[in-house]
Symmetry: C2
Subunit: 479 residues, 2 copies
């Protein structure tokens, strides 16, 4: 490999400077480019192809659970945004405002949607009349804008792409079920498609979404021990319904307020893919969302029969995988480095000597393991290998998460761990926001990630104040 | 049918009031809802499902012709928009401007993209260096905003969904080829997927896109004889490249400006689907983009064996088609009317008497023809029927276009036809904008649609001024 690396400009080492390593990958794998608009990114073809694969997989999961896609306006009149008090307080400070349209000053300014609860509520008010109209299970794929001071590609940008599900239900029980169902759709997707393990649970009062009764979250850990809020699912109760006057006639012939949820994931997930799996040679992509699954590289391609054989292999592989046969005039070593940088899970090399032996060389991107495989066995071999790569990537990420998850039962231990051991800390908590604030201040940014569904009993008292503990909480720094 | 119609509120007759008929369908087929934001629409699940089918089909065609999807910021800084003079003059008057972000007044205001030529050029300037970087064949699916005074769902809205292709090429010849290739991708799509015939050709100087050297257009005729600009493809030459300073080192080792194209179609196409094919009972959708292709209606569904048989048919049909088995407690007649309103191409009815005879009833939405079909033959029968429906829909639309296409060789004849016969007028033209302006004024809105690729020689002189004719032009009113 040493030879190949010399041919491409090296990227910063992950252990040396994690932040610079991240932006190097983003740039050199050609995922994004910076734009002239503050905090907005250009998502380049390779980055967008990852997003399209993510979208297709999630969209199938949403449709299988009965959801329908819709499209709402991108603008929210200021008066509409203000209808739910907590919600507007949470979002107004980071809104972009349109004040001029078609050369005239607008009578009412319009916010570029930071999220669309208010627009969905306005629409639901018109189309929900009786229990027969429920549930409404809508989803929207779109871009949203939140004015950010400091930005980083995929992780925090003023504009980003996402999906937002917004549903309405007859009863609290149904809405709560939906909230958890979608959280589990997300965690299944993280595990089965992104090969990323995550802690899931409920956000504390302090960390929940503006306007929600409860927020559930999926929190994968990045390679450096920092958390990324990977997706959230909110139960709203009937708060928005009351603010917007949405009612339905129930089976009992009386008027009721419906119960609401919303849930979303975004292009941040591409940031998670980088920070969980990738290494000093570039991206490492899980097979299911990699735009190219097999890079097929002819060796000594000018020799008779090599390109013909390569094309034969391409055809056979293309029936099962997204294959790219690269017969450009770059040297094989340059190509090896290029597809390593792009995180392509499997490389297949075929040259004159391989053809003589009716074999080819198969190299995994994640471990660099190399195998000589009979051409007759190539397709089933690669098929098995893809499953193995996915599972191994998941297991390595899980191991990293477990190794960087610590326990603290005293405040000193907590602070010491927070300072010296990047990762999650499990600790008991009394339920008071004051303790969260103190922990954040003393540790320089550690926040509650979530109250997991399976709480452990680590001690009887809050790690911060010593009062009786109510919950076990995962704590950690975040992107 | 008479009975069914009574059960749903009737829509306005198409012949009586075309505009009201249109908005009735949009509303009752649940395609869109009006929003609280001026000129912006809510695209409801059924309308959005049509758009998803359109997107999937077009996206496949774009990828087959070598294009890649990307995502650009939704904001354009004012200084960037101003870089190409003709372009900014065309778009600035209808821009929505963001002037406040995150509670602070912006130093430079940002336009919400009305189209993205300028953003693509800014990016291309960074990534195009040598002839090896060309061509760049990018496409973007997104929403754009053009501040409109009077709006109508799908046809003219302040925000709409579209795709915009933006490509860069080494030579003028290649760029011109691309411009025409994409025009033909559009016209193939209109014919093969939407079952809509169209006149295609080049726009006159007056009607071309702001900043383009040439604009090509696809112009389908609506049932009432009015044209809809159904899609455009532009050749830009190197005008933007010069304004933005985009150069590449050619094979000759010298600096050159690349040649550029852009092309787009939008949710307007859903408006065309309605206005070309639909009737007084609602939507009529071509099979390829209909969200439901077969509506399966059990008759006397409480009787033993009916629902079981219906489910058996659903399974068999679902292997080839998007089927909906409606076993809700509405009466069959209500269901017939409902799926007629939604334009579902084929209805299959199955009841106890049919089961006895091992048959079912198959009804076409477009012609109302009914057939009794053996259950064993159902799937291949429906498969053939779908092809027949598509072709018949196309042929009827073509017949309508032909019947409403007239010829004029004198100005009086032209004005008389424009006033009394809605449709296209073929007439000779000298090439002067002044004649286009006069024609528009005298006829109350007739404009040149395009100069078709196959011009006929109708006379030697311009129908307006009598000077020597340069071209035959299709003229007509437009949405």
């Amino acid at each position: 490999m040493a030879n190949n690396k010399k041919m491409v400009e090296a990227i910063t080492s992950r252990d040396e400077d994690f932040a610079k390593w991240y932006t190097d990958i983003v740039k050199k794998a050609e995922l994004v480019d910076y734009s002239g608009v503050k905090g907005c990114m250009v998502i380049r073809p390779y980055g967008y192809a990852i997003w399209e694969n993510i979208q297709a997989d999630l969209d199938r999961r949403f449709k299988e659970t009965g959801h329908e896609n819709v499209y709402m306006p991108m603008f929210i009149p200021e008066s509409l945004l203000q209808k739910e008090k907590d919600h507007v307080e949470g979002f107004a400070p980071e809104c972009a405002w349109v004040t001029v349209g078609g050369q005239e000053k607008l009578q009412e300014r319009l916010c570029v949607r930071p999220t669309s609860e208010t627009l969905f509520c306005e629409h639901y008010k018109k189309i929900i009349n009786t229990y027969r109209d429920l549930p409404k299970l809508y989803n929207q794929w779109c871009s949203v804008v939140r004015w950010e001071k400091t930005t980083r590609p995929f992780l925090r940008t003023s504009e980003f792409l996402w999906q937002e599900g917004h549903t309405m239900h007859e009863t609290e029980e149904e809405a709560r079920e939906e909230t958890l169902r979608m959280l589990h759709v997300y965690s299944d997707f993280y595990k089965e498609t992104l090969a990323i393990p995550a802690v899931i649970g409920r956000k504390t009062e302090k960390e929940k979404f503006a306007g929600a009764e409860e927020t559930y979250t999926i929190e994968p850990m990045m390679h450096n021990g920092v958390a990324l809020q990977g997706g959230t699912s909110h139960y709203f109760g009937d708060g928005f319904a009351k603010s917007f006057g949405i009612t339905y006639t129930g089976k009992d012939n009386k008027l009721h307020y419906p119960h609401q949820t919303s849930w979303g994931v975004s292009t941040r997930m591409i940031g998670a893919l980088i920070m969980v799996h990738s290494d000093d040679d570039g991206l490492v992509l899980p097979p299911k969302i990699s735009p190219i699954q097999v890079a097929l590289i002819p060796v000594a391609q000018h020799k008779e029969g090599v390109l013909e054989k390569a094309e034969e292999l391409r055809k056979a592989l293309a029936e099962k995988f997204r294959v790219k046969l690269d017969s450009s005039d770059h040297a094989p070593g340059w190509k090896f480095a290029e597809y390593e940088m792009k995180g392509v899970p499997v490389r297949v090399e075929i040259g004159p000597k391989d053809i003589e032996k009716n074999q080819c060389v198969v190299v995994r991107r994640d471990t660099r393991e190399k195998a000589f495989v009979s051409i007759d066995e190539l397709v089933p071999f690669v098929e098995n290998l893809m499953a193995t790569i996915h599972n191994d990537m998941y297991d390595r990420a899980l191991k990293n998460t477990q190794e960087k998850t610590f326990t603290a039962t005293t405040f000193d231990e907590f602070v010491d761990t927070a300072k010296n051991k990047p990762g999650f800390i499990k600790a008991m908590w009394c339920g008071d926001t004051a303790c969260e604030e103190k922990i954040k201040e003393v540790t320089g940014g550690v926040k509650s990630r979530c109250i997991p569904f399976n709480e452990e009993h680590l001690s009887d008292v809050c790690v911060c104040c010593g009062k009786p503990a109510k919950h076990m909480v995962f704590w950690g720094k975040q992107y």
